[in-house]
Amino acid sequence: MNPFSSGTRLRDMIRAIRACKTAAEERAVVRKECAAIRAAIDENDRDYRHRNLSKLMFIHMLGYPTHFGQMECLKLIASPGFPEKRIGYLALMLLLDERQEVLMLVTNSLKQDLNHTNQYIVGLALCALGNICSAEMARDLAPEVERLLQFRDPNVRKKAALCAIRIIKKVPDLAENFINSAAALLREKHHGVLITGVQLCTELCKVSAEALEYFRMKCTESVVRSLKDLVNSPYAPEYDIAGITDPFLHIRLLKLLRVLGEGNADASDLMNDILAQVATKTESNKVAGNAILYESVQTIMSVEDSGGLRVLAINILGRFLSNSDNNIRYVALNMLMKAVTADAQAVQRHRATILECVKDSDASIQKKALELVYVLVNESNVKPLTKELIDYLEVSDQEFRADLTAKICSIVSEFSPEKIWYIDQMLKVLSEAGNFVKDEVWHALIVVITNAYDLHGYTVRALYRTLQTSAEQESLVRVAVWCIGEYGDILVKNVGMLDIEEPIVVTESDAVDILEMVIKQHTSDLTTKAMALIALLKLSSRFPSCSESIRNIITQYKGNLVLELQQRSIEFNKVLANHQNISSALVERMPVLDEATFIGRKAGSMLGTASTPRGPSVNIPNGVAKPSVAPLVDLLDLSSDDVPAPSPSGGDLLQDLLGVDLPPASQQLGSGQAPKSGTDVLLDLLSVGSPSVPPMSPSALSLSSTTDILSSSMNNKTPTSPLDDLTSLSLSAGAAPMMDLLDGLTSSPPTENNGLVYPSITAFESSSLRVTFNFSKETGKPQTTIIQAAFTNLTSNIYTDFIFQAAVPKFLQLHLDPASGHALPASGDGSITQTLRVTNTQHGKKNLIMRMRIAYKVNGKDTLEEGQINNFPRELGG
């Protein structure tokens, strides 16, 4: 080599790079080398081209730009010497890619080298072509490759076969040119050529239906014979891996058989025997043998069904599961996952072994096994499986617990045969891994508990017991706190004792003490403490004897730094001090939470809409006091002469409640979106994490209402409320009866038709939606029209988060009942109905008129439709 030339030897460069201590040093070395190489390129230095490209390959691997060397590759390839060509081709494969136009320039050199007399140069060219061939090159060079498939030297033939794969992948049209020569390769005796030939056939079958048909007809038998020969062949040391002759060839042949047999009964028949032979005879104590078994299982599972073989295959996987090698267990689980769809019964038989894998020491195996168990659960095995999983939960790793808990919860809620079992299992999970339980899971549990009337006692006692041992599990504590608040009296009186329970004696002060313990415990977070405060408030009326100590606990938080707790403390304290007469009604037990609504709400909140009148599900278990109507009147300081017992005239009542002494504009309050916004505010106020809104809350009421006038009228109201510190409570209280009343209304038939029948109208119709109105009136109230709105979906997409909103001029008062649902099935297959109540203050003078807006989601996309309705029938007394 030239001693005077600039630049370093390859070895020195690598050494220099390795000696670098920092990335900056390395960059400096590389920059210097690259500068030298660029200079050499500019000088068109021939002698060191070879070495410079070697360096560039190394620099490329380190992630530095090397594009300036691309042309040098072409020059090296074009040079006559073998070493130059070798480095040229190596660099070509690394530095260039099939998308670069430079590559086109190499086609000619490649063509020459493919026809070179030196077979090693032919080999180099084939290798490069096989790695970087583009579609254009494929078209240009396919004839050369086709010819080389018959070359005398096997090394060239096998490389040509792989080149052919690249070519047909790039240009599937060329497949037919290779069918005959590929079929010829299947008769090869040379292992290497046979492997690549089988691969070529497999790929041909994948890209061309014609090729698949051809090989299926002509070659299935010969492939089966090759495999048979191989299985029975004597020991061939050079292809032996761990005592198995040429496992790769086994695998390739099995894979080709899979392609040929898939969806074709005749071809599948031909291979049944050999598949059975491979599956039974292959030794399974080495990786190589297991690789063959694994491949044969895949083939058996994909070819046309012959029951016996499938059972054999799944049994092989079952055996894999108890193998001591992690890899084998891992692939077995992967494969079983796929096999579940084909033959769930056969997989079920290995349930016990799969369950063992959940307890594996290898995290990835645990994860796979858990997924598989999850798929295998059904009504008949849910109990034993859940028991196993929960037992394991106790000893499992922290990292795995979150996964495991989530899966157990979803298994339990999906397949639980009865409520008591569900509650039992959930309590176990909560007490073991309550900190991993997601919020919606324990919310769902509370919904189930409220619905299980006969289990209230059992549940609250069980929770009380568990709370004493597992007080560090946040979500367990929350559920327990909620239940003790709601069912404290049942807890103390031992109501509804089941035979299986151990008797337990809890005094009233015990119940209060445990809540006090929760609220003082430093691990409890804000939500838990807030819930505990509500529970205490509730207990104060359940346990009059403890009310003084409860008040003491509550008072301690009136100076709390957390606004939420402070506010609750002060408000509750006021209630206890000044409103003893109503507090028992105020903290009545929660109405039963509707399971169907909860599920719908959960689905809704997953869609993540902001505009729906559904509160976040967090709110449900917060233990809201359900105030009766009378106290509400007191709280608002309104005249309480007319005790508004649930009456059919809901709209009027709302006015009575909220708007009695207010300026006329506030009459709108009772109309419009009051019920909806009421719900929202109620939920907002009670949702613990959200910013508290007390002084502003009236305006919050208008958040979801359509008509802007509403908000202004509501703001007027604040000063009229004399109990400033109770504003939020009174509002939440005010909102609650609104809902209650309306619920009452919807359940009892609110109207009696006065005999007149009014024609229905189509109030609105677009290409996607139709709204029809049916009318009726109550006896003795001609000014009030009851409208049954029905919404029909005219498209083939389901609408979700469907909301209907309406606005009317001032002379009308509008009141909307909750809609029957929030999802509208496609193609008119069912509809949503909603009742509207319009009171016309100028009855007989002016006709009804209404603006409407409908918002919904189609495939997750928000859609809005608006319209004006002025075709109300005249008979309505407009």
Binding site: M61, L62, I241, S364
Partner: protein, 166 residues
Amino acid sequence: MIKAVLVLNTQGKPRLAKFYEFRPVEKQQELIRNVFSVLCSRAENVSNFVDAESIYGQDARLVYKHFATLYFVFIFDSSENELAMLDLIQVFVETLDKCFRNVCELDVVYNYSKMHSILDEIIIGGQVLETSSTEVIKAIEELSRLEAASNSINLVPKSVSGWRAR
């Protein structure tokens, strides 16, 4: 199809990187880093398979083997047999071992182009070419022989011409 073959050392430095599907250089480096971060956090006694979908994209699996200071990593799709890939890593390493007589990281570093030649005799275009290390070594020896022969002929005139040019 095999998508990539990587050899990394235990510090995360690439020692060999071959991609059978086009990836820009920056992506290649990112991938190498991601693979390394997965591998170095794996315990000793766990399986050699990693779900590589998050690293390499859909349907990607990864098999690795750890030898002394080097990780040998194959990334491939679902058409390949995972266990066979594990064997193929074995074939690759055995071949290196025979070529370099007890291969170590330094051999790999300083014989970068030879590493590539060996790999090219085992895999072409993501397809398995040869699985017998004896055959691979035979081919590699032929290459070295040719290389040596042409070097001895070419070197003298080349360096002479080099002298003259200066």
